[in-house]
């Protein structure tokens, strides 16, 4: 297991370097950072543009891409990040806030989605074709079919607009991280503001996980080794937990790791629906400005998270399924 982990982990750094290089090239080709800079700073002087090119290593030519990448990389790891093209602001303070907001929303929603979704999936799979299976299955289909903007709108109308009409206050806020004017940390207010977006995201992930878990567990329950386990005369509970769930969790766990790894990327749609300043919005703004100094660190965080969680998913998979380790 350790050997397996090390063997996979060794590839982590080269993978990161390769993918960030590809992203670097793609961003330079796709957004043309110098043109974006000139578009955003229409009257920037030649000197200022040269400074921008030097600070970001945006040298031209094929070799310039390689040299530029290492220039960027060195600046990135030494925490000497170039400033944003619009307003010349430091990138990290803003990125850090967006990251924290996205992690909070994404992790809570994933946690709920994974927990509730899997529980429902198990309940459904244990009585296939019966009422509760039908209930879980059809509500999952509804959950998947209802787009986030519809569920967000309904929740906002009910808990905020109508609640305000009926009772004179909104039970859950429709937007933001804190009430306007609030400064500092307040767990309760924060949770209140997260409630609706978390529900919207959770509906989707609960639906996904319940269906996934149901399918996975049904598959396992129909396996021969389940009969072997029952033939031992052990309790049904042990049969389910030790034999069925243990196997059914293997694909679900992989999915969960990949999902959590993607949390860093934020949720472009949901964040928009709730004015939630997370990584999705950060990206949208940076991308529409063509803000290379903001886009690269964002990309690196996403890539890093995806690569690391892929590795963790692989390790977890191997840990859960001994058949993988030899491969």
């Amino acid at each position: 297991m350790l050997r397996y982990t090390l063997r996979r982990a060794v590839w982590l750094l080269p993978t990161l370097l390769l993918v960030t290089f590809l992203v670097y090239v793609a961003l330079r080709l796709g957004t043309d950072p110098v043109a974006s800079y000139r578009r955003t700073n229409i009257r920037a002087s030649k000197k200022k543009i040269d400074q921008y090119i030097a600070a970001n290593g945006l040298y031209s030519g094929a070799f310039g891409y390689i040299r530029g990448y290492f220039k960027w990389l060195w600046g990135f790891v030494t925490l000497d990040w170039p400033r944003s093209i619009k307003g010349s602001r430091e990138v990290w303070p803003h990125l850090k806030d967006a990251l924290a907001n996205s992690l909070r929303l994404g992790l809570v929603a994933s946690f709920i989605g994974i927990l509730v979704g899997n529980a429902l999936g198990v309940l459904a799979a244990l009585r296939p074709g019966r009422l509760r299976d039908t209930l879980v299955n059809s509500s999952a289909l509804v959950g998947l079919a209802v787009p986030p903007f519809v569920s967000a709108l309904l929740l906002q109308l009910f808990f905020a607009v109508y609640w305000q009409k009926w009772f004179g206050y909104a039970l859950f806020p429709v937007s933001g991280v804190y009430p306007a004017g609030h400064q500092g940390f307040d767990l309760f207010l924060m949770l209140k503001h997260m409630a609706l977006p978390v529900v919207v995201v959770s509906i989707q992930s609960i639906a996904v996980y319940s269906r996934y878990m149901r399918a996975s567990l049904l598959d396992v329950l129909n396996s021969e080794y389940m009969r072997t386990a029952r033939a031992k005369g052990i309790s049904e509970r042990r049969v389910l937990v030790h034999h069925a769930l243990r196997n059914a969790l293997i694909p679900v766990t992989t999915l969960a790791f990949l999902d959590v790894g993607a949390v860093v990327g934020g949720l472009i749609i949901t964040e928009g629906l709730f004015e939630y300043p997370g990584m999705g919005r950060f990206f949208l703004v940076a991308y529409s400005n063509g803000d290379f100094p903001e886009l690269m660190p964002w990309m690196v965080l996403i890539i890093g998270s995806v690569v690391v969680f892929n590795l963790l998913a692989d390790i977890a998979y191997a840990k859960l399924d001994p058949r993988i380790r030899l491969g």
Binding site: S223, E224, Y225, R227, T228, A229, R230, A231, K232, G233, I234, S235, E236, H242, H243, R246, N247, I250, L320, D321, P322, R323, L326
Partner: protein, 324 residues
Amino acid sequence: MMEPVLSIRDLHVSFATPAGRVQAVRGVSLDVQPGELVGIVGESGSGKSVSFLSIMGLLPGTASVTGSAKVAGTEMIGVPDSQVRAQRGKKIAMIFQDPLSALNPVHRIGAQVVEMIQAHQNVSKEAAHSRAVELLDLVGLPQPDVRARQYPHEFSGGMRQRVMIAMAIANDPDVLIADEPTTALDVTVQAQILDVIENVRRQLRTAVVFITHDLGVVARVADRVEVMYAGNTSERGLVNDIFATPHHPYTRGLLSSLPSANKERLKPIVGAPPNMIAPPSGCAFRARCEHALEACASAGNELVRIGSTETSCIRAAELQGSAP
């Protein structure tokens, strides 16, 4: 005569399906004596596996089971699950056809045997583990202590079936049900597994019910044979007698479809087994039987004794001696 370790009386099993109720087993009665190896033979769908799965309580919820089956005096039919579970794996154990998928892929071999031991014996994990290694040794697994730490995917089919046997005999059961244990294996491995089962029976005095569609295997290992057709026993008796003089046309058909050195070509039984949702009255085999009479349509399933064997064929006596 000794008290039988397994005593089945008038066992009926049916399944609810969307098309109707499938009557898989229709009144089977059978005794198995201690240490005896009984072969159960029949085509697929004859009810041979279902009968024993019902006794083990391993049928799905759609099955309804009536009648009686006593394992070492304990009733297994129509009693609470917990009572059945207490016997399962302890007094009566079972091994299955496909050893490749019968073991849980994510647990170590040793742990799977240990689980069986600890399910019925109050022993420490360490004790259970060393017992598991002994058992693996007993079924002929080389380096059992090393192998116990390995996972099923590191084993060949034959080795896995040995593990299944080791697991089944872990609590020294009175009856071992072997449901087509060699069907999925290579011929050479088949022989080894048969040896292991034979060995277990001799050493532990365990009664074995050997379910198979292969008469050749039965001929090698069984003391007695029970031929099943359409949910009923069609013929039973000592192996040698039945092979020498089969009395039921179905048995005769099975034997003539058996490959052997002195036969030019095989003669399969024509036709297909009956629909078990609406099984025919009387002798279920009559539609495929060249000797069928009108009387067969009203024949019961009572077994008639002819010599050492019993058969349900009402024409058994008159047909005796007609060439197979």
